[in-house]
Symmetry: C2
């Protein structure tokens, strides 16, 4: 598996130990759920000592966040210059991530009370790292397509929220709204006054 | 406590039994968290028999959703005709709800894998019931302020997603973006071409 962007901070680690712990975490999340995914269970399953896990992740919340977000696809969308196309891929990619069984199982570690009490989790770090990347997608659009006053972070937050709604609100609770309609709305925000 | 909108379906119930069970559920969520909030524990704490709880809620997921969403504030925003003002109150109200300790503790019941497997939970029912209400807020705007092609459900979903991001993304992972900026973007979507 490729080197995780979440593991590039600090001194080099033994990647095989990291990978064994993360693999066991993912398996436990999928097979037994969030509550059962404790450091102790991960240690037993992976053969990595609990103390070695704690050296890498200060709590199970960080461990679970890293395991669930490790190869997060949205950061991989390369800008092509076709803005609508790129934004659609970006949004679809987040929806797929938020809809995956692994992410769903990890949800309490991402949005639960324990996660929110911590200042700078892998989740927060990852979201920060995606922002400059998203900015490049907007910057790749042809001149004049995007209003100069647009803040890419605000558009990113809008897409992130839209992805959460698409992935997390039960389909019975919302009208059948295709991803393309969300992109229509975002394109409407982006376009300069003369193009609207 | 006022009659819950979640309890108006079906035949009348003994409101005091409902209320005791819901109160115990809220207390358990806040004091001990999601995992500890089981039907059995709610029964012990409230003095309501587990069988009576199961008659009212098919699972702990439905019970927790009802307890967490019971008096959801966003449905209470009355349209004044000042669109920006109303939308701001609506968004702030959702952010406050999603940020509350009770809602955070209930998060796995709202967004976790168990919740998403069920077809029509109290959460889904509530979201559906808010949609017509939100439509009234848009309808109360003066003529010409909103583009006729706008679908109120799409704007609702956009605000819902924005509220999730405001409330759930750690503040370290996003720029300091005031609620007013989100409303700016939504107003930009809403306004007819001639007004932009």
């Amino acid at each position: 598996m490729a080197q995780s962007i979440l593991q590039t901070r600090g001194r080099p680690r033994d990647a095989s130990i990291d990978e064994r712990a993360l693999k066991a975490t993912r398996e436990l999340l999928l097979e037994e759920g969030f509550a059962a995914t404790t450091i102790q269970r991960v240690a037993e399953r992976s053969g990595v000592h609990a103390s070695a896990i704690y050296r890498r992740w200060p709590s199970r919340i960080e461990l679970i966040q890293t395991a669930a977000y490790d190869n997060l696809a949205p950061g991989q969308v390369r800008p092509t210059g076709d803005l609508r196309h790129d934004l659609t891929r970006f949004l679809r990619s987040y929806i797929a991530t938020f809809s995956s069984p692994l992410h769903r199982a990890a949800m309490p570690a991402l949005l639960g009370p324990e996660a929110l009490e911590q200042p700078m989790t892998p989740q927060a770090w990852l979201l920060l790292s995606v922002r400059p990347h998203f900015k490049k997608i907007l910057a790749a659009a042809p001149a004049g397509v995007i209003d100069a006053s647009i803040d890419s972070d605000e558009i990113f937050d809008l897409l992130l929220g839209a992805a959460m709604v698409h992935a997390c609100v039960p389909k019975e609770a919302r009208p059948k709204q295709p991803v393309e309609r969300t992109i229509d709305l975002v394109m409407r925000i982006l376009s300069p006054p003369t193009n609207r």
